[in-house]
Structure formats: C-alpha cells, structure tokens
C-alpha cells in the first residue's frame, strides 16, 4: 500500500517581506481572516522556513535583501514553491528603476507563480497560493510544472543569482 501524499492539500506558507510597501503584506494577512479563510484549503501561515512548503515573497529585491531571501529559500526543505506576490515581487513594479533595486524575485530565486496586482486582491492571492500548491504536487510527483501551465503559472526562470549576490555582498 502506498500512501499518495496530498501536497496540494496542505501547503504551509512562509511569508517574506523583501522591500514591500506593506500593501501586499496586509492584503495577504487579510486572507487569513474569517472573510477569506485560507485555512479551509489546509493552508497554514507558519513562521519558520523549515516547516514551510510555499515561500510567499512581497516586494522587490534589492542588494541588501537578496542574500536574506536566498537564505530563507535555501532553508526550506524540498519540494518547495515560490510565489511572487504583487507586481513589485514579480517585476520590481514602480521601484524597478530605483538605483538599489535588482528587480523581481526571479532575479534571485526560481519563482513558480506570479500574482500581479498593486496590491493583488486577496482572491488572486489565494488563487496564487493554490496554483503554487498544484506546482508543489507536480514537483513531488516528478512532473514539470510546465505541464500545468496557465495564466498565473510560469516555469522557473534560470537561477541567475551568483553574480547578483556577489554584487549584493559587496554593497552590504
């Protein structure tokens, strides 16, 4: 008898604020309230990357926090999924041209789901995390997330961090 783990039924989320204006953070925390109730999907908001399956990142990446973000990502056990929450985390948003801003989260770690919006609606956020959970299930069963490709899901971008990180380290 083999037990098929339902990774998509219990995605535990750790939330990391990169450089966010707090708009997306507040919206994401609003998802936990009775109106939206993330827990009905088995989604738990844990405070520890070692317990988490899904890393939700808000805000753009800059030289200072690139290393921290990479560190949080590395501490998560496999299989793991990254959800870039909001337009800043996806591309850099209105901060993209800032002298200290590297851009979206995908500059540092591979992102599986992009949720656009400034801030993204709670419905979109829940949808994003659930898409992430599907990718998690696909990753666990060895399938490429590309198979489930749809509006919100994208293949992980190639990891382009080392150069960025070295640059970041010299600034820090």
């Amino acid at each position: 008898m083999t037990v098929v783990p339902k990774f998509n039924k219990s995605p535990w989320v750790v939330h990391f604020n990169c450089n966010s204006c707090n708009g997306c953070d507040i919206e994401f925390l609003a998802c936990l309230t009775p109106l939206y109730d993330l827990e009905r999907f088995g989604i738990l908001h844990v405070g520890n990357p070692k317990h988490a399956d899904v890393l939700v990142v808000t805000g753009s990446v800059n030289h200072r926090n690139a290393r921290v973000l990479k560190n949080v990502y590395d501490q998560m056990p496999d299989p793991k999924v990254v959800v870039a929450m909001g337009v800043c985390a996806s591309t850099g948003g209105i901060f993209a041209d800032g002298y200290n801003v590297l851009g979206g989260v995908d500059k540092v770690i591979p992102v599986d789901v992009f949720v656009p919006g400034c801030p993204a609606r709670p419905e979109a956020m829940i949808d994003g995390v659930l898409k992430g959970a599907q990718v998690l299930q696909a990753k666990h069963s060895g399938k490429t997330p590309l198979a489930e490709k749809n509006v919100l899901t994208r293949t992980p971008t190639p990891f382009a961090a080392p150069a960025v990180l070295e640059k970041g380290a010299s600034h820090a």
Binding site: W12, P34, E39, L44, V46, K50
Partner: protein
C-alpha cells in the same frame, strides 16, 4: 477486568491511537475555525499534513535531533501502551515524563536560540505540572485500595471522579498544558505560529517534524484515555467525560490569551497545587 495483552490488541492500540489523535486534532481545528466565524480545514487535515511532512526532505543540524525525535515517539507510545494495558502508574508517569524530556533535549541539542528558549519554557511547564501528576497518582493509589496498577479503576465499584473531584479539575489544567492550549501554549502551539511560540520544534523539518506530530497524536490519545479512568465503570460515562473535557479544552483555547511562563508557574504552584493537595488531604482524613 483488563484489556488482554495479546499481539493483536497491541498492534491495534499502536495503529488506532495516532488516527484517533489526528481526528481529535482535526475536530479541534474545525471547531476553533467555526468559533472564529471561519469554514475551517477538513477534519482529516492533520492526517494530510503529517503524510506530507513524511515525504518532505529532512534538514538536520545534527544526528542527535533524530535520536531525540524517535525517543520522544518511542516513550510516548510506551506510556500509551502502559496506560491501555493497565500497567504500573508510577512507571507510566516516569516514561511519560521521559518522553517530554526527550523533546526538550531535542530542542536543546541545537544552537538555535529560539529552540533553546522553547526548550527552557517546556522545562518550566514540566516543573509546573509534574507535582500535580504525582499528586494525582497518590490520589489514584488511595482510592484504588492501595494499588498502583492503572487497570484498577476498571474493576472498582465506585468511580474515581467521586473521590477525586478536585484532582480531576487539576488534571484538566495539566491537560490544557499538555495539549498546548492557550493560556499555556508558550513552548509550542498546535496553531501555526512564529519563532518564539513554535520554539521547541523550530529546527525540526520534514519527516522528523512529522515524528513529533505523531507523538503528539499518541499524547492526545493517552491523555483522553486517562480521563476515561476517572469514570471507568460504566465506561461510556468515562468516554462522555473525556468528550466533555475535549470540548472544554477547545473553548478554553479560544477564550484565553497566551500568558507568561512565570504566571503559569505561579498559578500551577498555588491554585492548582492547593486544589490537588486539598483533595489528597481530604482522602487521607476520610480513610482514617
């Protein structure tokens, strides 16, 4: 009347207990959600969570973590079996305490400050509730014709609850501590939480975190089985008593805020200890 220790009952007890604990945990989460005006997760959510954790990649800081996680589970299962098969209650208490001690040592064997803080808090909790458990066992000994056997209440004519009402109330407080319920959930909580409150489990991940979860399911089963002993004949009243205690714990968890470790310590060593002592002294006078 005792449950016979055959291989069949042994396997049955070992297999059924974690599912029972997981189910209770799921019902608890659902009730908590409904109390807060939320839908809540499926009843089987703790089962999904645990199966998922078993399939995650293990990340370890040192191999002693694994040893202590398994020791925690092993001693918890042993304590549970000793309770089910009515063995010596003092031995049961020691094995149960060692299980928690293994958890504390597991938290202490890493260099994470959060893990250390969580372990220290768990030690404070142990210091707070262990005297109460010892007093409960003394009361147990006095009402069961000077027998330490955990099977004794099953054949007793008079339910233990009638002789030990105050000790039962004291046990309910210990139950709230052991189930990580507010206001006592300072070392670890059964809700999702941040570093300090999840302290003791913070450096465990994947299958080893799942081991701790399974141990907690056994612990839940053990605690509610112990409540049944307070009214063991007829046993259905005991089961009703355990269910009532379970709902009481959920209500208490939702109605109280988390309090500090010194408050818990003072509360346990004054009010609850006084309750337990009064019961034991009254029993002693009655037997004279």
């Amino acid at each position: 009347m005792t449950i016979p220790t055959t291989p069949l009952t042994l396997v049955l007890a070992i297999l059924v207990a974690p599912f029972f604990g997981a189910l209770l945990s799921g019902i608890d989460r659902r009730i908590t959600a409904r109390a807060q005006g939320r839908m809540g997760p499926p009843i089987l959510q703790p089962v999904y969570d645990t199966i998922k954790l078993f399939r995650k990649e293990p990340i370890l800081l040192n191999w002693m973590q694994i040893v202590y996680a398994y020791l925690h589970l092993l001693f918890m299962v042993m304590a549970f079996l000793m309770l089910v098969f009515g063995k010596d209650s003092l031995m049961f208490l020691f094995v149960f305490a060692f299980s928690t001690l293994a958890l504390v040592l597991g938290g202490m064997c890493v260099r994470s400050p959060y893990s250390r803080i969580g372990s220290q808090r768990e030690i404070m909790l142990m210091v707070a509730y262990e005297p109460i458990l010892i007093l409960i066992m003394i009361g147990f000994y006095m009402v069961n014709n000077h027998s330490f056997l955990l099977s004794a209440p099953l054949s007793a004519a008079r339910p233990m609850l009638l002789s030990l009402p105050l000790l039962f109330v004291a046990f309910l407080v210990v139950l709230a501590i052991k189930l990580h319920k507010s206001p006592f959930d300072i070392a670890t909580s059964h809700h999702a939480h941040q570093e300090i409150v999840k302290g003791i489990t913070i450096e465990y991940s994947g299958p080893h975190l799942a081991i701790l979860e399974v141990a907690h399911f056994y612990e839940m089963a053990l605690l509610f089985c112990f409540i049944v002993l307070f009214w063991a004949s007829p046993i259905w009243i005991g089961i009703l008593l355990a269910s009532a205690s379970f709902f009481l714990m959920t209500v208490v968890d939702n109605a109280f805020a988390r309090l500090t470790k010194m408050w818990i310590f003072k509360f346990m060593w004054t009010s609850v200890l006084l309750l337990a002592m009064t019961n034991v002294i009254l029993l002693y006078w009655a037997s004279k």
